[in-house]
Each structure stands twice: as structure tokens, then as C-alpha cells.
């Protein structure tokens, strides 16, 4: 394509008519480095590799500035497809976390399914067995102007997730769903996958040492390449406009869990073979950026070049142009680099033992080229060289320094007169689509497959699995972010998301071992959106740093994987800042974990975490009064750390029998959920005077300041109090588990809330189903 000698308007016109997203200056810099006009396939390769999605060109500097990605337990930081932390001397947990927002807005079912499909590949290609997934979801207002479309998106996304995840055979053990009008035209579909692998059996996503010198084979495995997803990464890096929807639909990938299920089993056979033979391979999934991204990164990260023949790649059609073959995002594909002597056995595993060609028409494993030592990224097609560029220049990407400017908001605290009786207010909060039981959704998910599930959705603040039979250790998983806090303060939204995700795993007795972040924001070319992004990153980094890894003072909980999703905006507005955090917790023995359902009448209920006047963004303000407010919950780092580790210790010492963290809906919702999570036959009688604060009753009940409610084991009160004091925490015994199915709260000698659990259950279980009907 002619670039050299043309003026800026001419270059711009040429790029756009070819369907490229590259800027004029980017195209010129490529021509300059090449010393000639680039070919069309070369430009598409650069377009892919330099996209926001593949290169993090706007975000990289900020992430490097703030995030802590190393730590004593880190085996693999964020540089590959998934991060890895140690469980013990033998086993490791692998985690990856991504967004699939734009595709899910356009085609909810396929978009969300592809999200799950991509994230499990990221984990599997590290040599790991994928053992669980989680799905943080954000949808628009189900009762607002766009309600029909919002519900269509929500239903399609949930269907896509279960249809893919259930068929694949990986349990969905955690997730959250928030409805907020800022997502009316931009839903968020984040996906998290975790796997387990032995430390000595991790497979890298790069060409192994010696691959170039010995001319290792490059093999593509899986679905035949078609044009689906062509332009996908560029699409994920631009704002959605309604008139583009039709055009963007072509960028959606088509997932196939059935083929994936068989591929995973064949991969396992491959991994076993390489272990047996002691051969090191490179293995990577083909995700965003397709063939180009996987092959160039695998070569470049080992300092090698690549010489690839696109004719040898199995394709669904022979009529595809070279740039489509290279950059399409056809799903269910992997790339393998192995010594040539292993190749015949690899082909046998995929093409015969696991019979890919009969499982899916046209699927197979094909040798497509060699690793080289010349540092060039070369592709050939129909006898011609279609691309010959420096592999380092192609993969290094570019960086942009974006401007930031605080977003101006005019939020204030409302003046409200609370009713004397708070029962109706709590019922409203419990029925809110954001607080009510998530059962309507998680019953679609196979939470039991693999037989490892110990704690499932709805039973506690985090899911828990015992992923290796014969071992006692467990992996806990939770996700969190509150967009309403993000609207008020991106910094505190970031910090709170980390603190809550950690509280969630602590609430079952697991210690937070690692975090991942999926950062969902608007257009970074707009200074306000970029400011929100930086504030969130600062907040979450500060929290990860201040809350410490268990057993190590002043050591941050490492962030080993993550993803940045910009351009979540449309002409109607941008999404509320959404730094979605996942936390992996570890517990030595799954049998010690506790759930949130009340266990026994007469047990004492303790509050941890004093209540503050922090109702900004709260469910109470929004649901009962229709206002956002301003006093967003802050994270008091030292207090938070003490609370988290006090809870973990009290569970380890078997002093508490149930726990639940305080978040959306405040202490009132927390207490109600503990009563409703079990059989609904046990209630609570709580005196708010002991909540350690002179706030009014409604603020005590609904403030979303962080904390926990604990049910103390019979006759362990003294020991628990001693433990809490040891952490410098106030002792706040609010009352007891009651035999009657009723939640009662008193304040200053008056009953301020009396709610029978039957009524509460109706409100709590109906809210989400109603919103998604």
C-alpha cells in the first residue's frame, strides 16, 4: 500500500478504505522502519499488534507505575497468557481474567460464550487443568428506558455463559451482577478462569530455548481458520456507535464448546507425552489478534524469528485473503512449537486419537512453519512473501502518553428523614436487583461438574473447590467492584474492590494469595476517562500494597494477571469506572471453611468494623431515596488488614461457625442474608447500640462501611474476643441467633426493625428473576 510520498489526507483515506485502524503517523513510522511501502498484510499485522487490546498502548505506563506484580509466592507474573502463584511446594494455581464487553453488547450469547472460551484457553495453554470460572457482569437498568434491550443482553449473556461453560465441563463458582444505567448501551462481561498445575509442569507461551537453532516446527491445532472475528481487536479498541453495529457484527467470533472439550482432552494427552519424553514445548492459545499475535509473540519473546506458510494452515475456505487468514479470530485454536521429531506423534494425537476432523468439519493439527534465528517475521501465501518485518518491531508496540483531567461532578449528600421503622426499607433493599439472591442466574450454571465443589454460589461470600483429589487444600475465588462507588470516587472504587474481594475469601477462612484486575473504562483519549483509569489503578494498588500477603509484613498481595478494556462508551455516555477485581484465596484444609448460613440458636453475633457515615453510592440511598450521595466508603487500610486477618485466624482456630462480609445493603442486608441462606428457620436479635457509633439507626443498618458479621461458636466468646482485641479491633457483640424465623433490631430501647423471614425471602429471591424476566 502506498504511503511514502502521499500527503496525510491521502494516507488517511487509504487506511480507512482498507479497513485499518492505524493512525497516519503510525503508518508512516512503519514505512520508515521498513524503508519501503508496507504490504496490506503487513499493515494489518501492525494494526493488530499495535491495537490497544494487544499493546496496552495507553495503559502500560500507568500499570507499570503502580501495580505490584511480584511477590514471594509468584511463579509467573502478568507477562504470559495467565499468572501463576504457588499453593505449596508442589502445586500452583493459574489465573486469567479478561473482558469481552464489546462483542457481548452486540451479540450477547456468542460474545459471552467466546469470553469463557478464550479465558479457559489462556489457563489451559499453561499446561494447567482448568478447574473453575467466575463471571462478573454489568448490565443496564432493567427498569429504565432501554429495558427491553438491557434484558435481551442480560438474558443472552447468561445463556452464552452457561451453554459454553456447562458443556465444557468447568464449574462456575463465583461471579457478581450489577444493574446500573451507565451500562445501558455498554454491558460489561468479564470472565475469570483458574487452573491447577504442578510447578515442574508449567508450559510457557514462547518458543523454547534452541527452537530457532534447531528449526522447531510451528503447529496450529483446532478449528479451521475462517474470517470470523476479523478486525476484532480493533473493534474492542473503539467506541460503539449504533450505525456500526451491523458492521461490527462481522467481528464476532463463533465459539464451540464441544470442540473445545475434545481439544482439552487431546491437549492433556500432549502434555503427558511431553512430560514422559522430557521435551520442552511452547504452547499458546490463539485469541485476540489470532495467528499473527500468537506466532509473533511466541517467537519474539524468545528472541527468534518465524517463517510461516499460510497455505499450510487448515482453513474453512480457500478464498480468504492473507490478512484475513493471519488476523481472523477463529475460536478453538492453539499454537504449538515443538522439535520436529515430536511432530508425527503430535499429529497422531490430534488427528487420529482424538479424531478432530470427524469431531468438527475441517478441524485438525497442521504444521505451518519453522522458528528461525534471523529475527524476521515472515509469512508466505500462494507462493509470495506477504509479510517480512522485524519481529521485535512488530511486537514491541507503541506507547501513548495520555492526558488526564479530573471529572467534574456535583454530588452531594441528601437530607433525608428516616422512618422510625426500617423494615420496609430493608425489604426494598433486599428486593433490589443488585442485592437480591443470585439464584435465578446460578441455577443455570453447572456449579458441581468435576465434583470438586465445596462451597457454591449462594452459600458464602466466595466459592471454594478442592481441585486435586487426595489433597486437602482448597482454592477460593471471588470477584468484586461497585460501579456506584466508581461514579463518586474512582480511587476509592479501586481500593474498595480489592478490599472486598479479599474480605470475601477471608470470610470463608481462605487467605488472599493473588489478585487480578480487569479495568473497564471509557475512551482513554478523553482526559476524564483516563483520569478515572489512573485513579482506580492507584486505589487498587494502594489497597493491594497495604493489605499485605499473609505471613509477610509490608508485602503487597501480588496482581499476576489482568486486562484493560477501554472505549466502553457510546454517544450516550461512558460506563461508571469499573475496576473489577478477582481474588484467589487459599486454605490448607477445605473442611475448615465456613459458610454464611446461621448454624445454631443462641450463638452470639459479633460485628467487626465500626459503622461510619458512608452511604454514598449505597443501595439504601439509591433504592429508597433515588439518590447517589457523596460519602463513599473508604478503606482504612490498617483497620481493613486487621479485620481480614482476624477473621481468617478466628476461622482457622474454629471459633466462628458462620461469617458474612458487609457490603451492598450494609449490615441489614448482611444479617438478612445469613438468616436466608440456610433453611430460613433461624433468626437474629440484634441491638444496634453495641455497633460502636452514635449514628442514627438507619445509617447503622445501611452504611456500607466495610466489615463482617460473625457467628461465634458456643462458649468460644471469650477466646474470640481475645483474638479480636489482639488485632486492635473493637468488641461489638450485637446479639444472638434466635429460634424464631425473624430478624429483629433494636436501637435506644426501641424496635427499629422486625422482619419475618418468609416475607424477606419473597423479596430477596424475587428481585433478580423479576429484573431479568
Amino acid at each position: 500500500m502506498k504511503i511514502i510520498g502521499l500527503n496525510d489526507q491521502e494516507v488517511e483515506a487509504a487506511l480507512r478504505s482498507a479497513g485499518l485502524g492505524l493512525s497516519v503517523s503510525e503508518a508512516r513510522s512503519i514505512a520508515e522502519v521498513l524503508g519501503r511501502d508496507p504490504t496490506v498484510p503487513e499493515l494489518f499485522n501492525y494494526d493488530t499488534m499495535w491495537s490497544e487490546h494487544c499493546s496496552y498502548k495507553s495503559s502500560r505506563a500507568t500499570l507499570n507505575e503502580f501495580l505490584h506484580t511480584t511477590g514471594p509466592n509468584v511463579v509467573q507474573g502478568p507477562e504470559e497468557d495467565a499468572g501463576i502463584v504457588a499453593i505449596d511446594d508442589e502445586w500452583c494455581v493459574v489465573i486469567a481474567h479478561e473482558s469481552h464487553n464489546h462483542p457481548s453488547q452486540i451479540l450477547p450469547n456468542e460474545g459471552a460464550a467466546t469470553g469463557i472460551g478464550g479465558i479457559v484457553r489462556d489457563v489451559n495453554c499453561m499446561g494447567a487443568k482448568v478447574v473453575a470460572t467466575a463471571d462478573p457482569l454489568r448490565f443496564g437498568d432493567p427498569y429504565g428506558e432501554d429495558k427491553n434491550h438491557v434484558r435481551w443482553v442480560a438474558e443472552g449473556v447468561v445463556d452464552g455463559i452457561w451453554q459454553y461453560g456447562n458443556a465444557l465441563g468447568v464449574p462456575i463458582i463465583a461471579g457478581d451482577v450489577v444493574f446500573d444505567d451507565s451500562f445501558d448501551t455498554n454491558c460489561l462481561v468479564n470472565v475469570v478462569a483458574i487452573g491447577v498445575v504442578k510447578r515442574g509442569e508449567i508450559i510457557k507461551s514462547r518458543a523454547p530455548a534452541g527452537a530457532g537453532e534447531k528449526g522447531y516446527d510451528v503447529i496450529v491445532i483446532g478449528k479451521p481458520t475462517d474470517s470470523s472475528g476479523f478486525g476484532g481487536v480493533t473493534f474492542a479498541s473503539e467506541e460503539l456507535r449504533e450505525e456500526d453495529e451491523e458492521a461490527n457484527r462481522g467481528a464476532i467470533q463463533i465459539p464451540d464448546p464441544f470442540l473445545k472439550n475434545v481439544l482439552f482432552k487431546a491437549n492433556e494427552a500432549l502434555f503427558q507425552l511431553t512430560r514422559q519424553e522430557g521435551i520442552t514445548i511452547g504452547f499458546k492459545d490463539l485469541g485476540g489478534g489470532g495467528f499473527t499475535c500468537a506466532s509473533s509473540e511466541m517467537g519474539a519473546s524468545a528472541g527468534y524469528g518465524m517463517d510461516l506458510d499460510l497455505d499450510k494452515l487448515h482453513k474453512a475456505s480457500e478464498n480468504l485473503p492473507p490478512e484475513v487468514v493471519a488476523c481472523a479470530e477463529t475460536q478453538e485454536r492453539f499454537m504449538l512449537i515443538c522439535p520436529p521429531e515430536l511432530t508425527p506423534r503430535v499429529l497422531e494425537i490430534y488427528n487420529e486419537d482424538w479424531d478432530l476432523p470427524n469431531v468438527y468439519e475441517g478441524a485438525r493439527a497442521s504444521v505451518v512453519g519453522k522458528v528461525t534465528t534471523n529475527g524476521r517475521y515472515i509469512t508466505r501465501y500462494r507462493g509470495k512473501v506477504t509479510c517480512d518485518v522485524s519481529i521485535e518491531h512488530l511486537t514491541k508496540g507503541i506507547r501513548y502518553a495520555r492526558e488526564e483531567r479530573p471529572r467534574k461532578t456535583s454530588l452531594s449528600e441528601p437530607v433525608i428523614t428516616a422512618p422510625d421503622d426500617l423494615t420496609d426499607a430493608l425489604l426494598k433493599v433486599l428486593a433490589s436487583p443488585n442485592v437480591s439472591s443470585r439464584e435465578h442466574i446460578y441455577r443455570y450454571y453447572d456449579t458441581e461438574v468435576q465434583g470438586n465443589s465445596v462451597i457454591r454460589p449462594g452459600e458464602a461470600d466466595a466459592g471454594l473447590i478442592a481441585p486435586v483429589r487426595g489433597e486437602k487444600f482448597g482454592i477460593a475465588l471471588s470477584v468484586d467492584a461497585n460501579p456506584f462507588y466508581g461514579r463518586i470516587s474512582p480511587y476509592w472504587a479501586g481500593a474498595t474492590a480489592v478490599a472486598e474481594a479479599m474480605r470475601n475469601v477471608a470470610a470463608i477462612g481462605a487467605y488472599p494469595a493473588t489478585l487480578t484486575d480487569c479495568l473497564n473504562f471509557g475512551n482513554p483519549e478523553k482526559p476524564e476517562a483516563f483520569w478515572e483509569f489512573r485513579e482506580c489503578v492507584k486505589g487498587l494498588a494502594d489497597a493491594a500494597k497495604a493489605l499485605w500477603l499473609k505471613g509477610y509484613e509490608d508485602t503487597p498481595v501480588p496482581i499476576v494477571s489482568g486486562n484493560v478494556s477501554f472505549y466502553n462508551e457510546s454517544p450516550d455516555g461512558t460506563v461508571d469506572p469499573s475496576p473489577i477485581i478477582a481474588c484467589v484465596g487459599l486454605i490448607d484444609d477445605v473442611r475448615d471453611a465456613v459458610t454464611m448460613n446461621l448454624k445454631k440458636a443462641g450463638d452470639s453475633i459479633y460485628l467487626i468494623g465500626p459503622r461510619f457515615d458512608e452511604l454514598g453510592g449505597s443501595e439504601y440511598y439509591r433504592t429508597v431515596y433515588g439518590v447517589t450521595g457523596k460519602n463513599v466508603p473508604e478503606v482504612r487500610f490498617e483497620l481493613e488488614r486487621n479485620m481480614i486477618y482476624a477473621v481468617i485466624d478466628s476461622i482457622a482456630r474454629k471459633l466462628v461457625v458462620s461469617t458474612h462480609d458487609i457490603s451492598n445493603g450494609g449490615l441489614g442486608a448482611t444479617a438478612a442474608e445469613m438468616a436466608l441462606a440456610g433453611k430460613g428457620d433461624l433468626g437474629m436479635e440484634l441491638a444496634l447500640d453495641s455497633a460502636g457509633s452514635d449514628l442514627s439507626a438507619d445509617r447503622l443498618v445501611f452504611s456500607e462501611s466495610s466489615g463482617f458479621l460473625l457467628e461465634c461458636k458456643e462458649e468460644a466468646e471469650e477466646e474470640l474476643e481475645k483474638l479480636l482485641k489482639g488485632y486492635g479491633l473493637d468488641i461489638m457483640c450485637l446479639g444472638k441467633v434466635a429460634e424464631s424465623p425473624e430478624l429483629v433490631m433494636t436501637h435506644k430501647g426501641k424496635t427499629v426493625l422486625r422482619m419475618d423471614l418468609e416475607t424477606a425471602k419473597k423479596a430477596w429471591t424475587g428481585g433478580l428473576a423479576e429484573a431479568m424476566r
Binding site: 452486540i106 451479540l107 456468542e110 427491553n148 464476532i252 464441544f258 474453512a316 470427524n358 468439519e361
Partner: protein, 157 residues
Amino acid sequence: MKINLRVWLKIPDAEAATVKNTLRRRMGYEAVLADLGKERLWSIEVDDDVRDPMDLARRLARELVNENKESYIATVDTIEFEEGYVPVKVGLHIEDGEAVSALNRLRNRLGFDMVRGVERSVVWKLALKSERPEKAAEEIAERLLINPHKDFYEIMT
């Protein structure tokens, strides 16, 4: 008045490929079954006084057809198939929960008050090399395409 939407996949139809593969490789129809295609069929009963049924068909298709991966043809009252294959319609004779909820969604959530009923079926298009293609199609339907305890079939020509 009945609006018929014949809907087919623009992308490869993995289900049709599997059914074809099973018939040819596992059930002895290698020589008989030349090809097999699949369509979804929505038959939507609407009020007789609808003025512009084709426009209504287009609006219904927006809700029932996923245009990223599917195409459709709409017809009113009639339904015709091309030459070269035997169309076998397969539907449920037990209550079709999906059709019931499609009807509820169209009427109650999306405001299509003129919709009276929704039927959903699959049309298998069997290209057969046989002296008596309809007989062969019946056999294939009974041996594989239906479970008689929930499905019915109908040769459409």
C-alpha cells in the same frame, strides 16, 4: 393470518454436519444421502387485520432471528421449498416451552399485541439419491430425526 419465518445459519451449521455424518458413517446412508441442510421455522399466527404483514414479519424477525449468523425468508400464509431435497419438518407434540415463552415475550414484553400464537419447528432438508425419496426421508425421520414420545414429523411437499 400466519407469518412464516424460514431461518438458516450463514455460518457452518455444526449440528447439520453432525447429523449428516451420523447418517452416512453410522447408519448406512452413505449412498442415499447426498446432502443435508437445516432450517428453523417460526410460524406466527397474527390478527387477520394486520395491514402490512411483511413489515410485521420484518419486525418479528428482528426479535427471533440473529442476523449476525442467520438469514431468513418471510412468507405470509404459504410456505414453499426449493427443488432438489425433501423437507422434513420436526416439531414437538408435547407442549413447547420455548414457543410459549417466545409468545409471552413478543406479546407482554415487546408489545406485539397482534400475535396470537407461536409455533417453532426444525426443517431438515434431505437431498436423497433414491427411487422413492419420500420413503427414504420417512425412514430417516423415524430412525434418527425424531423421538416419537415428544416429536412429530411431516414431509412438507
